[in-house]
């Protein structure tokens, strides 16, 4: 956990005011070396109340939900509703590059900390506001959780079988898509600042970020004026579908080299009519997808799935096994690339494996600089070192519940 080469975003200071819906955004920047200060209400962020919890014992410093999104950040508790708290925040804003917030639209204004105020305090500051529906429009004040956002973003409707209820996407995809767009927007604003010296206010809509992640739905509408249907496990492109093997499921793919796939299926005596020349054309396989997958399902049903995958990949067929996420922890590829990293929690005397970075930057390597913070862990040091708050003043702020 020692710092050798600085991260790619070393020198960037981010104040993270987000609640549980948007905290991946600042984590993405913290992972690249930005100094991210998570500002929590004195009672702790709402994410700390969300499970799962370490050993199933709920406690604000044992939330794995909080841990996942707050690795590499520092924590400062501050009551923004208190005038002294707001003052301290403004002092921090002067030396910050970025503020990220996910309050209901208008909340920062009510706190006297709206864009005009922050911009006056620090004209170079980038403010990123992440709200369910953005800062404008008739739904601006509506509320939503991830499931409702996947509904209103068109993502939920296209999962599952047509004659049954839609199936909810796994893994808070509306929140995560929004966080990615937030980090991208922030970097774009920071690069623009290199030319103009001016900060900007980013208005990000989570509904739009969700809709953007299922582009084929809108594209299908603009191309054919139709609503994309639910198709079970058939991918909208019609080149992928789940099939059942002897001991589990696999993902078929008909975009690889067709000749070698069909040679293999034929050698097992299961090709039916798929060796007809028409099927050499991807467009014909597209049109005949249901039939093609029926034949291929018959072919794979007696195969053990790991054997099938190994042989498919040897032939450069883009097949995959349908695995549980537990399999990632035993995956040879991820192990070789060091995807999971051990993070020490000294106060617990334990180490845990966290998912790491999805990329290797050869010049500015990814690394864990700190485990997720305990609530308010860095309040004292930040106020003392950055704002030169005297010890007596710190004690007073603490007694008054401001920090």
């Amino acid at each position: 956990m020692t710092a050798a080469v600085p991260g790619a975003l070393a020198g960037l200071r981010v104040l993270d005011l987000t609640g549980h819906r948007a905290q991946l955004c600042a984590r993405l920047l913290a992972d690249m070396g930005a100094d991210v200060i998570k500002i929590e209400p004195p009672a702790g962020d709402d994410a700390r109340r969300i499970g799962p919890f370490l050993d199933d014992l709920p406690h604000r410093d044992r939330s794995l939900f909080f841990w996942f999104y707050n690795l590499n950040k520092r924590s400062l508790t501050l009551d923004l509703k208190h005038s002294r708290g707001a003052d301290i925040f403004l002092q921090l804003v002067r030396s910050a590059d970025v503020v990220i917030e996910s309050f209901a639209p208008g909340t920062l204004d009510q706190l006297g900390l709206g864009w005009e105020v922050l911009h006056r305090e620090n004209p170079a500051l980038v403010l990123c506001s992440i709200a369910p529906f953005g800062q404008t429009g008739p739904y601006r004040d509506y509320i939503a959780d991830d499931t409702v956002l996947t509904a209103l973003g068109g993502m939920l409707y296209v999962n599952g079988f047509p004659d049954r209820a839609p199936v909810r996407p796994l893994g808070l995809q509306a929140y995560h898509s929004s966080a990615y767009f937030g980090a991208i927007a922030i970097m774009i604003a920071l690069l623009a600042r290199d030319n103009s010296a001016e900060g900007q206010w980013i208005d990000l809509s989570m509904q739009e970020a969700t809709a953007a992640a299922v582009e084929h739905v809108a594209a299908g509408y603009f191309e054919r004026h139709e609503a994309e249907p639910r198709r079970g496990t058939l991918h909208w492109s019609r080149f992928f579908r789940v099939g059942k093997c002897r001991d589990g499921y696999i993902m078929h793919c008909t975009l690889g080299d067709w000749t070698s796939l069909i040679e293999w299926v034929k050698s097992d005596g299961k090709a039916a009519d798929l060796d007809a020349p028409d099927y050499q054309q991807p467009m014909y396989r597209y049109l005949m997808a249901e039939h093609v997958f029926e034949v291929l399902d018959q072919w794979v049903k007696d195969y053990p799935r790991d054997d099938l995958l190994e042989r498919a990949q040897l032939l450069r067929q883009p097949y995959a096994t349908v695995r549980p996420p537990e399999a990632l922890f035993d995956d040879a590829q991820l192990a070789d690339r060091g995807f999971f990293v051990e993070v020490e929690h000294p106060e617990l005397g334990r180490k845990f494996r966290y998912p790491g970075a999805p990329y290797v930057f050869n010049g500015t390597p990814w690394r864990v600089t700190r485990r997720p913070p305990l609530v308010g862990e860095h309040t004292g040091e930040i106020l003392r070192d950055d704002l030169a708050v005297a010890p007596e003043a710190l004690a007073t702020l603490y007694a008054e519940g401001v920090i």
Binding site: I184, A192, F339
Partner: protein, 400 residues
């Protein structure tokens, strides 16, 4: 007019299919000049003038270089020398075989940034695996955990993995550019799309590694703290369409009380078994059946409006027509911008989910046909005269 945020940044773009084009499209939307290097006959993916292919390649330039021809490679290397970032989504060997990998390009441009967005990364025992978004979703657990109650995989009409890979690629390019402006140094980014989608499964990964808990398909159980009712509920048909649903999420006590009032305080809601959040979770099947009785009597739009007025998270499960035609919020915010086409009527595309208070991104043009920008790229960017260009075409180094 003020400059676009990424004006002056040039991307040499070797990416194809979905993930890579998503990454470079985001950069193009914000003013980067993206020069797409393609084969003469890329695999047919569909019409570039509307729909998904237009979305993916809009605002880019296209040049068709023959990378099997030494002079085609030479042109690519000269383009790289004048670019800030080179992006690809091939496996490691492809760019190396052309002499277009980071180590080779540093010789022509010392501060070049190279971003390779391969399926499983450039290193490791499975780095040569061939993959697409749907297969990566299968390998990481998404497909298995998006199942019906009986365990039948039911999920994934789309490629979340491609989007995660694309966003991660765009972010990596922007971060590397920011870093280069401060240090003067470029770098090589080896991005694994497999890892990009694995990284965002979320807290469930820690539940596995920390608590050793085997993950079950969550169905509609809330993944952000307990909630009940929480799920989708069938609504009245709309214009003969019987596939109408509303998503609802109720958490706190005050929310529950507002919810009950909003649906007209039915008798069942005062039953002891729904008194607390814990009890509502325990008896969620019965609760869901009761809620469905209420939603069945009204349209999804009406259910949403009634509940939102009461401060309850609720939303129509929007299909493509709802999304692009009916949703008043997306319309009001201009999320489906209109782009003009050279021939034929203008078309609409998916917009950009964020606005900047200065100069926002915008969709500048529809996607180019393969090789459409031959004259500009070779003439303007590389300064080659007509005679030389004709020669290169005649030699088969470049296609028009």
């Amino acid at each position: 007019m003020a400059a676009m945020p990424l004006e002056g940044v040039r991307i040499l773009d070797f990416t194809w299919v979905v993930a890579g084009p998503v990454a470079t499209r985001i950069l193009a939307d914000h003013g980067a000049q993206v020069v797409k290097v393609e084969r003469k006959d890329p695999p047919p993916m569909g019409n570039r003038k509307l729909g998904l292919q237009c979305d993916l390649h809009r605002g880019k330039l296209s040049v068709a270089l023959n990378m099997q021809h030494p002079r085609g490679v030479e042109l690519a290397r000269r383009l790289a020398a004048g670019s800030d970032v080179v992006m690809d989504n091939f496996s490691a060997r492809v760019m190396r075989s052309w002499g277009m990998d980071y180590q080779s390009l540093v010789a022509v441009k010392p501060d070049i940034i190279c971003i390779s967005m391969s399926g499983l990364g450039h290193t490791g025992p499975n780095s040569s695996y061939v993959s697409y978004g749907p297969t990566l979703q299968a390998l990481t657990g998404y497909t298995q955990l998006m199942a019906e109650a009986d365990g039948t995989p039911a999920g994934y009409g789309y490629s979340y993995a491609d989007m995660c890979g694309g966003y991660t690629g765009a972010l990596a390019a922007l971060v590397a550019l920011w870093n280069r402006r401060r240090t003067g140094r470029g770098q090589f980014v080896d991005l694994s799309q497999f890892e990009a989608v694995a990284a965002v499964i979320g807290p469930a990964l820690l539940d596995i590694s920390v608590n050793q808990r085997q993950q079950q398909a969550p169905g509609y159980n809330s993944q952000e703290g307990p909630a009940a009712p929480h799920g989708v509920y069938k609504c009245r048909a709309l214009d003969g369409d019987n596939d109408r649903w509303v998503a609802i999420g109720v958490r706190t006590g005050p929310e529950w009380r507002r919810f009950v009032t909003a649906i007209g305080s039915p008798e069942w809601a005062s039953d002891q078994k729904f008194r607390t959040l814990y009890l509502r979770m325990q008896n969620s099947a019965e609760l869901d059946a009761n809620v469905s009785q209420w939603t069945a009597t009204r349209s999804a739009e009406d259910a949403m409006a009634t509940l939102q007025r009461a401060g309850i998270a609720a939303g129509v499960v929007e299909n493509g027509i709802d999304l692009c035609e009916r949703d008043p919020q997306l319309k009001e915010r201009g999320f489906w911008p209109t782009v003009s086409t050279a021939k034929g009527p203008p078309t609409n595309v998916t917009g950009i989910p964020f606005k900047l208070s200065g100069v926002s991104g915008n969709v500048r043009s529809i996607a180019p046909e393969v090789g459409e920008d031959f004259d500009y790229v070779l003439g303007e960017l590389l300064g080659l005269g007509k005679k030389e260009r004709d020669e290169l075409v005649a030699e088969g180094a470049v296609w028009t």
